[in-house]
């Protein structure tokens, strides 16, 4: 079953719509979907007051529900929060907390996404074809329970603190990353194909961060361990270029691995005297 959602107007107020979830839409008729409750600013409304729902039966025999949202929904928060199955395709920009605590299924965004995408996710896949905001995969304020599984792929750039407090799973960023990528990381893998701002891996205890581009600086609380010829990102993806391997963060007695491409970072060559 495929559910198409079309915004009925330009959305200006913040909207909380955790009901946009394949698990909730499963087996419902358009009229039933439009009756689901959402919040627009401080007013409770029906989903049908903001979106028009259409159902198109697919030839796909699988029972998975596919939700396709057409248009800019950057004001809509918590889409796909806690989803377990199915797929959400967003043809436009998406709002905060996309796929928060999702356990399975897939979300694809053909646009940009605001902060806390994939926050605290436990499984499934989020693929963002534009840029992602701050706190990608990171927990909400005050929590230390970051990603515990699943995969996030971003084809653009990401903001601050991507993968903060991460325990498991993988975050692949094919653009640049802001500062504090992998802050207080306890496990899992973060791959940044392009450049990375400073303080990458600050306070990390375990886990792996791979930076193929230029890194602004390495924290003084990391020590150099050696030079590696290649690094495996995940099954079937290996980056073959020399990498400096740093271990840290010393301040947390950490043994996290920070790989930084040697060729793109001549300013780190002074570390070689410690090898």
């Amino acid at each position: 079953m495929m559910v198409n959602l079309y915004p009925l107007k330009e959305l200006k107020l913040p909207i909380v719509a955790e009901c946009i979830n394949p698990d909730i839409f499963q087996g419902k008729k358009p009229a039933e979907i439009e009756k689901l409750e959402v919040w627009e600013g401080n007013k409770q409304k029906k989903l049908g007051e903001l979106f028009k729902a259409e159902i198109a039966e697919t030839e796909d025999a699988s029972e998975n529900t596919v939700v396709v949202i057409h248009g800019d929904i950057s004001r809509v928060k918590r889409i796909g929060a806690g989803m377990k199955n199915g797929e959400i395709i967003i043809k436009g920009d998406a709002g905060m907390h996309l796929g928060e605590e999702m356990k399975g299924g897939k979300i694809a965004v053909y646009g940009n996404v605001l902060g806390w995408a994939g926050s605290m996710m436990k499984g499934g896949t989020i693929e963002i074809h534009g840029n992602a905001g701050d706190y990608l995969g990171a927990p909400y304020r005050g929590s230390t329970e970051g990603m515990k599984g699943g995969k996030i792929i971003v084809h653009g750039n990401v903001g601050r603190e991507a993968g903060a407090h991460m325990h498991k799973g993988i975050v692949k960023i094919y653009g640049c990353a802001g500062q504090f990528a992998g802050f207080r990381m306890h496990g899992g893998t973060i791959y940044v194909q392009k450049d990375c701002e400073a303080r990458t891996g600050a306070c990390m205890v375990e886990g792996t961060i791979v930076v193929s581009g230029r890194i602004e600086s390495v924290m003084p609380s990391f020590t150099i361990e050696g030079v590696k010829k290649k690094v495996k990102i995940e099954e079937g993806e290996v980056v073959e270029t020399p990498f400096y391997l740093f271990l840290g963060d010393l301040t947390e007695n950490g043994r996290g691995k920070l790989y930084v491409a040697k060729d793109k970072n001549p300013h780190l060559s002074h570390y070689e005297k410690y090898l």
Binding site: N42, T144, A202, S217
Partner: protein, 483 residues
């Protein structure tokens, strides 16, 4: 002429409560014990910028109106709004903030205080790490090592050093004032001699040094109360310090983490951190570990630069690590006189200290999402109430622009920039001068504020104005429900 003693100064977070005011014909004519900022407020509060009549905007112009009409219009704006913001609260009493939170809940709005642009990052990190702290009284009597990081109390909290830290006479620690005077005299003498040698012997004009190297002013390991200043520039406070570390701008996080590693006796694989040689850092780390009672005060130089909240995360972690070796506490240098009170009251009533969103009917908190600056930058709000603050002068340009586009209600004693943009402007009495109340000092000690003179005729305190708006909103909502 009557003299009112033990008045609390409503300017900065130090809340000095030893001010003496002389009153003549219902006006303050003399201020004793106060700093320059304190004198300026007590003597200049009734200046030409004072608003004396409520105003509403008609045909693009602010025109005078009755208080009843202004309150009715303000209530209408807030009752109709779908996502109003209520901002300010740090320059008013806890009692007014308490009513403000009730109002925010009633209208389903976002209530935020000025922490969002000052020590908001500190609060986020305190929630992550925790904070070992104490009262300023304990520091005055016991602290033998004071560290000011990214703050310049000489200018921003002028009596902080004199009342609570290095120059205060404690029960167990003596004031470092005499030592400071001797040091200044020696420095002046040395500068004169150097200048004379250069002019007479070398025949070159004296040059001002702008190097980034840290400077020993006196031996760091000497006995008695010591002062360390860490900042990006040599401030007046830095001039007084026993040891000054000049950190490269936006590199505080690296320096803090380096201190953490050194305190854990780990070796650093670099020669310099943030432009400071590691050997100097080792001396400072030794001084921190070997003190009996240390106190680290940090200001906006730490909260609003480079790593922002993570600077504070590292500073709190540093103090946590230091407490494994000695006694150390940490305290933010709060700016507005009752910003701590705004956080405290908000925490009592909602569970969260700032950036609280009531739009779903219950309090939600996620700075970055529910903080007023971010709400305005995303252009989500559709009405605003500003109490005792001037965000148009301080917020990012785009945020201020959206704020001015909203129907705007301002409650303030002065005609500031935000008030000039208002659709409804209600003048209020100065808390701590014309109205009594409670404020929280930076160490979370509540201190009463006195009413020393009467406000101008017809001017009410913030609390009373807010209560009247709240009552009016409830009337409107009752009518709507009945209809």
């Amino acid at each position: 002429m009557p003299v009112v003693k033990a008045v609390t100064c409503p300017v900065c977070g130090s809340l000095c409560d030893d001010i003496e005011l002389t009153i003549e014909n219902g006006r303050i004519v003399k201020v004793k014990n106060g700093c320059a900022m304190c004198e300026a407020k007590f003597l200049g509060y009734c200046c030409e910028h004072r608003v004396l009549k409520p105003m509403i905007r008609k045909d693009g112009e602010l025109v005078k109106t009755s208080l009843k009409e202004a309150i009715r219009r303000a209530a209408e704006i807030l009752a109709e709004a779908n996502y109003p913001v209520l901002y300010g609260w740090s320059n008013t009493s806890c009692e007014a903030t308490s009513v403000g939170i009730e109002l925010a809940e009633e209208v389903g709005g976002v209530i935020d205080n000025t922490s969002v642009v000052c020590h908001g990052p500190s609060i986020l990190s305190i929630q992550d790490v925790g904070i070992p702290s104490c009262t300023l009284g304990q520091i005055r009597h016991r602290a033998d090592l004071i560290v000011y990081w990214g703050s310049n109390p000489w200018s921003a909290h002028p009596r902080h050093i004199e009342r609570y830290t290095s120059f205060s006479e404690g029960r167990f620690e003596k004031s470092a004032w005499r030592g400071y005077v001797t040091k200044i005299k020696a420095l002046v003498g040395r500068k004169k001699i150097q200048s004379a040698i250069k002019r007479l012997v070398l025949k070159k004009p004296s040059q001002i040094s702008t190097h980034l190297e840290p400077t020993f002013v006196s031996p760091i390991m000497r006995k008695g109360r010591k002062l360390i200043v860490i900042d990006v520039r040599r401030t007046k406070t830095a001039e007084m310090a026993d040891f000054f570390v000049q950190v490269e701008p936006n590199k505080d996080y690296e320096l803090l983490q380096a201190f953490r590693a050194l305190i854990r006796d780990q070796e650093l694989a670099v020669d310099k951190v943030a432009g400071v040689p590691v050997e100097y850092l080792e001396d400072v780390a030794d001084a921190m570990v070997s003190c009996d009672f240390g106190a680290l005060f940090f200001g906006l130089g730490l909260t609003m630069s480079g790593a922002k909240l993570r600077n504070i995360d590292a500073a709190l972690s540093l103090v946590r690590d230091l407490n494994m070796r000695t006694k150390f506490i940490i305290m933010p240098m709060r700016g507005h006189f009752n910003v701590t009170g705004a956080n405290t009251v908000s925490t009592w009533q909602t569970g969260y200290p700032y950036a609280v969103d009531f739009s779903l009917g219950y309090p939600r908190y996620n700075p970055g999402e529910t903080s007023v600056v971010d709400v305005l930058l995303r252009k989500e709000s559709d009405a605003a109430l500003i109490v005792a603050s001037d965000p148009v002068s301080n917020f990012p340009h785009k945020a201020a622009e959206h704020l001015a586009e909203n129907p705007l209600i301002v409650i303030d004693p002065h005609m500031n920039v935000t008030a000039q943009m208002a659709d409804v402007l209600i003048p209020s009495a100065f808390v701590g001068i014309e109205a009594a109340g409670t404020a929280y000092r930076m160490d979370h000690v509540p201190i009463p504020l006195k009413k020393v003179v009467n406000p101008p005729r017809g001017i009410l305190p913030d609390e009373e104005i807010l209560r009247r708006i709240l009552a009016e909103i409830r009337k409107i909502k009752k009518k709507q429900e009945a209809a």
